[in-house]
Amino acid sequence: MRYDVIIVGAGVVGCAVARELSRYRLDVLLMDKECEAGFGTSKANSGIIHAGHHGDPATLKGRLEWEGNQAWDRLADELGFGFERIGELTVAFDDDDRRTLSELEAQGRDKGVTGLERWDAERVRREEPALSEEIVEALFAPTAGVVNPYEACFTLAENAHANGVVTSFEDPVISIDRIDDGFRVHGRNGTVDGRFVVNAAGLFADEIAAMVGLDGPTIRARKGEEYLLDKRLQGYVKRLIFPSPTPTSKGVLIIPTYDGTLMVGPTAHWALKDDLTTTAEGAAEVFEKVRRLAPGISERDCIAEFAGLRAVAEGEDFVVGATAVPGFVQAAGIQSPGLTAAPALAEMVVEALKDEGLALQADPEFDPRLAPPVRFATASAEEQAALVASDPGYGRIVCRCEIVTEGEVVDAIERGARTLDGLKFRTRAGMGRCQGGFCTWRCMELLSSEADMPVPAVTKRGGGSWVVLPREEAGRGH
């Protein structure tokens, strides 16, 4: 099979590129080694659409932060995922911090970021009573928002697919040959040819680049641990809370995620590319730093934890554009604010492909809109009644902690979920305080009946992540 463009990596950038390319009459393949879009670094992201003033405009990541930020309202509207500009406070505890706030503010204004405001201690106390009394001042940025990064990936990929992009999951790239007029990509699921390749392979972008003979940039992994708190803390703080940044890190934050669950983190330490462990030291660091911001938060509120790995290129900036290999375009080293910048990054990649010779002919059939999935939990009482009346499946509870119905799980399976994590990240089933104790069995039954797989074939997230064994296999050889 011959494609115009093969995108290696279905993280937020790969998916955004796929969706951009689906506007044109092109044969595009989006491939990824995981079982779902976004299941690499993107799903472990903090989910923050940064306000625009954080990044140094001397860097690409700093320049694209504000440009990317402005694209999210439209993206969310078209694709139907949740996005809310909840605003952000960067807080100061002393004069050094105050100076940092001033620098940030000036940097933001230079870039054109709107709405930046300094709040005095009294206003901070009034607006966010849970924050520490030792805060002397804060920089308020109304443009900051939150999104579920995996929802963005799913919907970008789904819309791209609806507009003709072919997707292939659990399909890692094994090797790439350079051929006449393009590339021969050998994946686990087969070999495909493409005139152009977009390398959006995250942590492994350097390995993909090496396959075509490119030397660098090296990608290192910087791990961040995050901790999710019980939903009864919803509303404890209303905005994203940042400490004053240091030269190396935005710090440990309080993040009211889109669905209301509070999240604290991340840490930032070098790690191996396969190290997704959470640690006792990481937990201690996060809770100690968060308590400085909001003294009332404690480890006892924690319901779950996870880690993500940032892909960091040497030079600490995005590496985007054409390379020494004709037809091979990269978007590598996408660390923070990679999610925020994704729409802008996708446009940059498409521009680079165009410069490399890809003809872009608009497809009149392109439909930018994707119907949002049913979200029973946040529907109004009338909407809920109407849903149940239309389909009794919406009347059967699957996840009681997050109020997810059988109808929504079946919808998610129809939209492509084939694993427990695929269901979890599409519907939220399993994300609540009981962490799947009630819903997991129901989800397995539904995957079995709706996706036609025997129960032992259901995995947590593809590959070898089996969940149960049939009795014969587990026993002493019955």
């Binding site: 039954e445 079995s448 009946s449 032992p456």
Partner: protein, 134 residues
């Protein structure tokens, strides 16, 4: 103690109450000589029983087709000799019933020659266990 005697001391944790007395049974040629460590009558009885004829109630499940669930819980009507427990579970593994089943139905008569039946511990109505059990 004579030189030809074979004395052994066996230790048991009493299950009569949370005090968990550590019981000792001293036996000579399989005859109980002395029981020590109990602090009540129940403990002494327990020690004797555990030494001479330890018994266990067995609860497990058997396969059932066409019922609300894929497994039907069953139990031995009375405790059976402890050495037969695993063999009983293995034997019950071979059984495959069909719903409906009523609580108390005999699933295996005279299990492994013990004279004790294995019975269903619930009704299992016909239903849609959407996945047939393993």
């Amino acid at each position: 103690m004579s030189e030809n005697a074979a004395t052994e001391t066996r230790h048991y944790l009493c299950t009569g109450c949370p005090l968990g007395c550590r019981l000792e049974v001293e036996a000579l040629d399989d005859e109980i000589v002395e029981v020590r460590g109990f602090s009540c009558k129940r403990g002494k009885t327990f020690a004797y029983q555990e030494f001479t004829d330890p018994r266990r109630s067995v609860s497990t499940t058997v396969s059932v087709d066409g019922g609300r669930w894929a497994r039907l819980p069953v139990k031995t009507a009375e405790p059976i000799p402890k050495p037969k427990v695993q063999a009983l579970c293995d034997a019950l593994h071979e059984i495959r019933l069909r719903a409906p089943v009523k609580m108390g139905d005999v699933v295996m008569q005279d299990a492994l020659g013990t004279g004790i039946d294995v019975v269903a511990t619930r009704d299992m109505p016909v239903g849609d266990a959407s996945v047939v059990g393993a």
